[in-house]
């Protein structure tokens, strides 16, 4: 035995890292892929919470008199439901997907300022935890405990800062790590991530400013912003369309990318796809006015025009974004040699659902429909959020070889996608109908629950439960592929013809 060998034997063998070390490694994670998986994991938990809340509130609405939960908690539950849908699921969803795949699409080693992105993730996670804690402690919009209401505002502010930090990291990545590629030559998904993150950088501070105002007012004078009763209305624009389109823009990028992949050809009108995705940026103006812009037919043509122009800017122009991307994806299929690419299915269905949500928002903004303040509004948001989830599933399924080095089985992807699609339709469509029956939004009592209304609310609850099943199904597909699938880095869907 050599001397060196003897000394190595006398030294203690390096132990497995302790639990504390492993825990610290998670909190100080500086690996973009791990961070992306963390984002998706936590978003999945929020999605389950949102779907369960949706099912609970749907069941509660089946009988306007009965109370599965305390009637006094309804306002807070609706507040938590909206938070879960938008800041729990929609906003971080594509940040996670982007952290996972943008570096590889740009041929970059990692994202810029990965620790900033990591900080952002933990801020967002901590903010969400504070929001849940505050709701449990009778805080949040409509809450009755002052400290808990302040805790809610703190959580909201922290979560917004977290999303901002990750958005800055991703936007800087796309701007500086393209390795010589121009913006019009990168993947349309990357372009969509840039549009989305720059939009977030410009709009989330506006939400933060409102939160600061609300907190200063609530903690002191309580004269300017109306206390907890009006808290939700000050931030309503953040949880509504068209702002949600900024969060959902990368779903359009996924479809733009996969349209060409499924068609096995270059996108014939690639510039048009980029313009379509760029139109999502129109949503930035939502933060400028922070109020809705209904269309009212006035007494004079001038009044009508004065009402129509902002309505068109806020609600018709954003419609063009998913319309253009869907149309050009179909054009690519027509021009190329289409084949079944499983991830294309959820991406296509998802953007279709986003379009349905945006159309619904535009319809309810027409004054004569009398849909404002009804559950129609909630249904439009559900369409956009759950549609984005479908789009994200398409992205994860397509880039699964880059994320997990496994191919997700085609049949399983199609099955989960169709279940998700059915879930979205069941969860949202009944409330589109109930909106025309004047069922009020943000409350589960005081409406007429007889006949069709009760059935519609029940179907909506079932739709949310189906979404729970779809999420669990997606997790099972991914876990199954990771445990049983063959390791590969070759994407089976990529072909030589498609140069994104």
């Amino acid at each position: 035995m050599s001397v060196a060998d003897a000394s190595s034997l006398s030294r203690p063998v390096a132990d497995e890292p302790s639990a504390v070390t492993r825990l610290a490694a998670w909190f100080t994670v500086a690996d973009h892929a791990r961070l992306g998986r963390l984002y998706l994991g936590f978003t999945g938990v929020w999605l389950l919470l949102a779907a369960v809340l949706g099912a609970l509130l749907g069941a509660e609405r089946m009988d306007a008199g009965a109370a599965l939960v305390d009637t006094g908690a309804h306002v807070q539950l609706f507040g938590l439901y909206h938070y879960a849908l938008v800041l729990g699921v929609l906003a971080p969803l594509f940040l996670g997907v982007a952290l996972l795949v943008v570096p590889s699409l740009l041929k970059a080693a990692t994202v810029s300022f990965v620790r900033l992105a990591s900080f952002g993730f933990w801020m967002w996670a901590a903010g969400g935890a504070l929001v849940v804690a505050s709701i449990i402690a009778n805080g949040g919009p409509g809450g009755g405990t002052a400290d808990a209401v302040e805790l809610y505002l703190l959580g909201l502010g922290i979560a917004i800062v977290g999303i901002l930090c990750t958005a800055v990291s991703l936007a800087a990545t796309v701007m500086t790590r393209r390795n010589g590629a121009t913006l019009d030559s990168v993947s349309v998904f990357v372009f969509a991530v840039l549009v989305s993150t720059v939009g977030l950088v410009l709009t989330m501070p506006v939400a933060l400013g409102t939160v600061i105002y609300l907190w200063v007012d609530f903690a002191n004078a309580r004269v300017a912003f109306g206390g907890t009763g009006l808290m939700a209305s000050w931030l309503a624009w953040l949880f509504d369309q068209p702002q949600s389109l900024l969060f959902a823009a990368p779903a359009l990028g996924v479809l733009g990318h996969l349209g060409a992949v499924a068609a096995r050809t270059r996108q014939p009108l690639r510039g048009g796809v980029l313009v379509g995705i760029g139109l999502c940026a129109v949503a930035v103006v939502a933060s400028v006015t922070q109020r809705s812009h209904p269309f009212t037919v006035g007494d004079t043509p001038g009044e009508t025009l004065g009402s129509f122009v902002p309505f068109a800017l806020f609600h018709l122009l954003p419609l063009l974004a998913p319309l253009i991307v869907i149309a050009l994806a179909l054009l690519a299929l027509k021009a190329g040699s289409p084949r079944l690419v499983a991830p294309f299915v959820p991406a296509f269905l998802g953007v279709g659902m986003i379009l349905t949500g945006l159309v619904g928002t535009a319809v309810q903004m027409i004054d004569t429909t009398d849909l404002q303040g009804t559950v129609f509004t909630e249904a439009a948001l559900v369409y956009v959020v759950y549609g984005s989830v479908l789009g994200a599933f398409g992205a994860v399924a397509y880039w699964s070889t880059a994320i997990w080095r496994r191919v997700l089985p085609t049949g399983a992807v199609l099955g989960v996608s169709l279940l998700g699609f059915v879930a979205v339709v069941l969860a949202a469509l009944p409330h589109y109908v109930a909106g025309f029956l004047n069922q009020p939004a943000a409350t589960a009592t005081g409406h007429d629950d007889a006949g069709l209304r009760g059935i519609l609310n029940g179907v909506s609850a079932l739709g949310h439960l189906a979404m729970v099943l779809a999420v669990l199904g997606a997790v099972a597909v991914i876990v199954g592929a990771r445990s049983r699938g063959t390791e590969t880095t070759t994407n089976p869907y990529d072909t030589a013809e498609v140069a994104q």
């Binding site: 900033l116 500086t176 950088v201 410009l202 501070p205 400013g209 300017a224 933060s287």
Partner: protein
């Protein structure tokens, strides 16, 4: 005889720090801009009251017994010009590999930033405005407090840049340029705050 074609020079990669700072500055501008927009909205919707001499009706916004210290706020505005010049001096010195002047410029930048914080606190003390009566007080403290927090972030940025140069990283021109950009942006933001909150009131 053939003349060899000139090869292209190296592509200069855009600095991540500079771009990220630009995004951060844009976000901060959106933050202050939105808060000022709400300030203007509240002021426009303030109810009317009779002026102190009873001659006309005026907006019931700024109470008659509240005096905004204009000397302190004007001094802050002028100081911002100085801080931007110092930040740019740091960029100028670093490009000439002048370490001592770079350190001096960054030190002065940080010190002036601290002076701005001091001036803001002095302004609060002079006003003696209580935060419990009306919308003006809420909005005043929220806007100026947020601006103060942004100034503190600028000071921290200066100290980090100073530490890097002190430690010998003189080649980080982009960091110093980004640092200067951030102070320019803060200057622009304070110009808006100064005009809306302290001049127009």
């Amino acid at each position: 005889m053939t003349v060899p074609a000139l090869t292209a020079g190296p592509v200069r990669r855009r600095s991540s720090v500079f771009v990220a700072t630009a995004f951060a500055a844009a976000g901060a501008t959106a933050l202050i801009g939105s808060m000022l927009a709400m300030w203007l909205d509240f002021r426009a919707k303030a109810p009317l009251r009779a002026s102190s001499d009873g001659a006309k009706m005026i907006k019931d916004w700024l109470k008659a017994d509240v005096a905004v210290p204009e000397v302190a706020s004007n001094t802050m505005m002028i100081t911002f010009v100085a801080v931007c010049i110092m930040a740019q001096w740091a960029v100028y010195s670093a490009r000439r590999a002048d370490r001592s002047h770079t350190i001096l410029a960054l030190s002065i930048t940080a010190a002036i930033g601290l002076a701005l914080v001091n001036a803001q606190i002095a302004l609060y003390l002079q006003m003696g405005l209580e935060l419990r009566n009306d919308a003006y007080e809420t909005l005043f403290y929220a806007v100026t407090g947020t601006m103060l927090a942004l100034i503190v972030s600028g000071v921290v940025y200066s100290l980090v840049a100073l530490f890097r140069v002190w430690a010998g990283r003189m080649g980080d021109h982009d960091v110093l340029a980004a640092h200067a950009l951030y102070w320019y942006a803060l200057g622009g933001m304070f110009l808006a705050v100064w005009f809306v909150v302290y001049v127009q009131k």
